[in-house]
């Protein structure tokens, strides 16, 4: 095995282009588990922790551009106000030690259906900024996940950043596991109200081969709420229940050691109903901006 430690983004992309079989490593919370257990023996480890550009976030054209190497701990402490849904998701991840190392970029690169950041990114319409020596492109996160632990990332590409528009409305995130820390989600749900566009964003985790949106539920909510955005009127209870049911129908879960498919479907309907109820209650009491 070889170990490459580029210190600039250009060097990292050059190394990526030369070694498409290299495994990129940042926080190591996935890669090192694979190596420690003998499941992963890449010919080359491409360490991205010295690439300064990846460790920063900025506001760019109205979006937060979150460098792929920013650990969850910093998303929580530095971006809780600008990216509330992603910060909520980040708080559910692992333990303090894991949040000090793990990154959103790594979550995307692993592309596990159970990755905790994905539902929040889907609900917020995030874009993944990827780059290679050929250039930079942006992939809507909805199109990023292509299969179990597979993504739209090309072999010569690295994830540079995630771009997220700070929310125009409340966001929620909900995750079920066997305890409050150090668990892989049994099921997770992210929700974002976009009152500026009259849209409700959703993201489902751990309940399909990839993280995915609940499109029918989004369309239903947009329809039902179309007359309520301006008046900030009460959310009919039946609307929240139906929304939850429609989110559940978007899932395609399996039975596994963490839970049954039936449990996941039920849990999603409850989490989605509650998330919409909480978010709408917050929207009603928020000052008009």
């Amino acid at each position: 095995m070889r170990f490459l430690q580029p210190t600039t983004w250009a060097e990292a992309l050059e190394a990526r282009a030369t070694h498409p079989d290299a495994v990129a490593i940042a926080g190591g919370t996935d890669v090192m588990v694979g190596i420690n257990f003998g499941r992963l023996r890449p010919p080359l480890l491409l360490d991205l922790t010295r690439v300064g550009e990846l460790q920063e976030w900025s506001v760019d054209g109205g979006d937060v551009r979150l460098g792929a190497g920013v650990p969850y701990a910093r998303v929580i402490t530095e971006l809780g106000d600008r990216l509330p849904g992603l910060a909520m998701a980040s708080r559910t991840i692992g333990s303090p030690q894991i949040r000090n190392r793990g990154t959103v970029g790594g979550n995307l690169a692993t592309a596990s259906p159970a990755g905790d950041a994905h539902p929040a990114l889907l609900a917020a319409d995030a874009e993944v900024e990827v780059a290679s020596v050929r250039g930079t492109r942006r992939i809507p996160v909805t199109d990023f996940y292509t299969g179990v632990k597979r993504s739209a990332l090309a072999p010569d590409e690295l994830i540079a950043a995630v771009r997220i528009r700070p929310p125009a409305g409340p966001q929620q995130y909900s995750k079920i596991g066997t305890r409050n820390a150090m668990v892989i989600a049994v099921a997770a749900f992210g929700l974002a109200l976009h009152p500026d566009r009259g849209v409700v964003g959703t993201g489902i985790g751990s309940a399909a081969p990839t993280p995915r949106r609940a499109t029918a539920a989004e369309e239903f909510a947009a329809e039902e709420l179309s007359g309520l955005w301006e008046s900030r009127g009460e959310l009919p209870a039946a609307t929240a229940v139906r929304f939850g049911e429609l989110v559940a129908t978007a899932a395609a879960p399996i039975d596994d050691v963490r839970g049954t498919a039936a449990y996941r479907v039920h849990a999603l309907s409850v989490m989605a109903r509650r998330a919409l109820t909480w978010a709408w209650a917050e929207y009603r009491t928020a000052k008009e901006s």
Partner: protein, 162 residues
């Protein structure tokens, strides 16, 4: 490959490090520092917790080369020749140590928590302690004595800071 880093304030250099090796392995097997414990090797148990540039991390998830030039702090760096670190003494006095395997990681995590809390002006509350130690598993104590030890350490460290 060769790895050079500072461990507990002393520069250490080791050769023939395998590129896929963890920092934990380097500390235990190459530097003669077996305080950090190897249990789960997947970041679940926290018994390998060390400081990396002042931040608590699972050393089993840090690739050796990622520690190049960095400052590492392990449980071996806590006591002086004269006395145990107040966190170590509090764990002993509160009966928070049984088999002791999880203790080195808990000591580092507790030191980080208490130091941060006192810097922010208040000892940690129960909920904060549980959250801060959520990544450190103990299969003996049931955690109650550990909570006592953290509070005792915070009291003593805040008194000695006055």
């Amino acid at each position: 490959m060769r790895l050079t880093c500072t461990v507990n304030g002393t520069e250490q250099q080791v050769d023939d490090v395998w590129e896929g090796e963890s920092l934990l392995y380097v500390l235990r097997e190459r530097m003669g520092l077996p305080g950090s414990k190897n249990a789960c090797e997947q970041g679940e148990c926290g018994s390998c917790t060390v400081y990396l540039d002042g931040t608590p991390v699972c050393s089993c998830l840090v690739a050796a080369g990622q520690a190049e030039g960095r400052e590492v702090g392990t449980v071996e760096g806590m006591a002086t020749d004269e006395a145990l670190h107040p966190v170590q003494q509090a764990f002993l006095d509160a009966g928070a140590v049984q088999c002791g395997f999880c203790t080195p990681g808990l000591l580092v995590a507790t030191d980080d928590l208490v130091t941060r809390s006192l810097a922010a002006g208040a000892p940690p509350e129960d909920a904060e302690i549980r959250e801060a130690l959520a990544g450190n598993l103990c299969r003996c104590t049931g955690y109650e004595k550990i909570l006592d030890a953290v509070k005792l350490a915070a009291t003593r460290m805040s008194e000695s800071a006055r």
